[in-house]
């Protein structure tokens, strides 16, 4: 624990095993606000599993996940979300038969109960918020288009937009630029830099150019454990990392 301020997210000895196979093995990890962290690692390193554990999709078999000093383990998914954690999935998960506007509206962080939903109104405030998020994720002109008709990259942006609507304090993105064109990657990089004010962003990514562009700090995961952690330059000069990626 640093003295100046508490980390936003602290993971201690996190472990999960599936039928004896330890996908994540005694992981220790922490993140501060305003930090943009990228997790890299070869396939099967347990990257996605770590995100699944934090957002409650997978139940850990041991260890602690502390977010704003509260234990997340055992909390149902929707409560974790309401507590301030947003998650983007590997394949874009948007609602194809709703419009962009409606996709964003669903993520507006109030009226989440049954009756809240019935009483929910599109106040000017809500509309304004949706429009500003849509603008941020480059979809302002597409508000009335159904999700199914967006391009792959636009779907990825829409999902990031849906997360922004929730105003999460921790944003987790699983391969946000997969399938994007170079131009789209660049815009996404700018977007991520812009939105990491006042929150932490945790990203899994394979595109090293992209990682280099955006990461404040990089964590390398291998066989469920942390292999190395540091700046991109440090990681690139780390021999163990090179071994894992390149062989011997």
């Amino acid at each position: 624990m640093s003295n100046e301020k508490e980390p936003l997210l602290t993971i201690e000895d996190l472990t999960v095993s599936f039928d004896g196979f330890k996908a994540v093995d005694g992981l220790n990890f922490s993140m501060d606000r305003n930090e943009l962290r990228v997790i890299i690692g070869p396939n099967g390193a347990g990257k996605t599993t770590v995100l699944d554990l934090i957002c409650g999709k997978t139940r850990a078999t041991g260890g602690k996940i502390l977010f704003k000093d509260r234990e997340l383990r055992g909390m149902p998914e929707h409560k974790i979300v309401r507590f301030g954690i947003g998650r983007k999935f590997q394949t874009p998960s948007i609602y194809e038969n709703l419009t962009v506007f409606e996709n964003l509206e669903i993520s507006y962080p109030s009226g989440h109960s049954v009756f809240g939903c019935l009483a929910f109104r599109r106040t000017p405030e809500v509309i304004e918020r949706i429009e500003s998020v849509a603008e941020a994720v480059f979809l302002k002109e597409m508000l009335e288009i159904e999700g199914a008709f967006l391009s792959h990259g636009q779907k990825q942006w829409l999902e990031i937009g849906m997360l922004l609507m929730q105003e999460p304090e921790l944003l987790m993105l699983d391969e946000p630029v997969a399938g994007m064109s170079p131009a789209e990657r660049e815009r996404t990089g700018d977007l991520l830099q812009r939105i990491c004010k006042n929150r932490a962003i945790l990203i899994i990514e394979h595109d090293m150019e992209f990682v280099q562009r955006i990461a404040h700090k990089v964590t390398v995961l291998h066989l469920g454990k942390i292999l190395a952690e540091g700046s991109m330059a440090e990681i690139q000069s780390n021999e163990r990392v090179q071994d894992v990626y390149l062989g011997h």
Binding site: T91, G179, G247
Partner: protein, 229 residues
């Protein structure tokens, strides 16, 4: 032996493989190198028919197989060892081995496979799921060889395998090629393994081939640039 022309593959609206063309000759070992997420697995899956290609042609020994279901591609002489091995974990080792066989399996074929992988003979009654990663990899290769293929396609056979065993796998692939005059296409990101095993290598980056050379002319450092962090 294997001829791929203008292959385009994608999911939904995104295209992952852009107009890929390559070929591999008889008894050649061809490595396809690239980092995660660059399209290796998608390319190989589309060869065996697990993902439909949008356009392009795949020929095995002169026979067009694109558009066919997987099992007919196997019949035409392709065999596939997937990423992550995909052993049938509830079937025994022996059952896994013969799962793809058509009709009775010649004793010679078994002998050959068991001589390559003695451990499979020892463990033939064990459940596939109880094998170690390296043993599963051997089983997956054995399972692919049972159909006497002309072209063997392996997707990252070294993934999650200990370095010592990686060497064994390289040796075995060489041996198989010698024994059966088999064409082998293997995707990889471990350079040392590639240098041990292949005759020729292609480098794939974001769905396109960006580099090609024979092993003799291959400059590992150059390839590293495409693979390294």
């Amino acid at each position: 032996m294997l001829e791929v022309k203008d292959l385009e593959v994608g999911y939904g609206q995104s295209e992952v493989i852009h107009s890929a063309s390559f070929s591999a000759g008889k008894a050649e070992i061809l490595a396809i190198m690239g980092r995660n997420g660059m399209g290796k697995t998608t390319l190989l899956k589309s060869l065996i028919g697990l993902i439909g290609a949008r356009s392009g042609s795949v020929k095995v020994d002169g026979v067009e197989v694109s558009g066919l279901p997987s099992h007919q591609r196997v019949k035409s002489g392709l065999a596939y060892v997937p990423q992550g091995r995909m052993i049938f974990s509830h079937l025994t080792v022996f059952e896994n081995l013969i799962s793809g066989a058509r009709g009775a399996v010649a004793k010679a074929t078994f002998d050959e496979i068991y001589s390559l992988f003695p451990v499979l003979a020892e463990m033939r009654k064990r459940k596939g799921g109880n094998l170690s990663g390296g043993q599963q990899q051997q089983l997956a290769i054995g399972r692919a060889l049972i159909t006497n293929p002309k072209v063997l396609v392996l997707d990252e056979p070294t993934e999650g395998i200990q370095p010592s065993i990686i060497k064994d796998i390289a040796r075995v692939l060489q041996e198989i090629r010698k024994m059966r005059d088999l064409t082998i296409v293997v995707s990889e990101q471990v350079i040392s393994f590639m240098m041990d095993v292949c005759d020729r290598a292609l480098v794939i980056d974001r769905g396109r081939f960006v580099h090609e050379d024979t092993r003799a002319n291959l400059d590992p450092d150059k390839v590293k640039r495409w693979l390294a962090v």
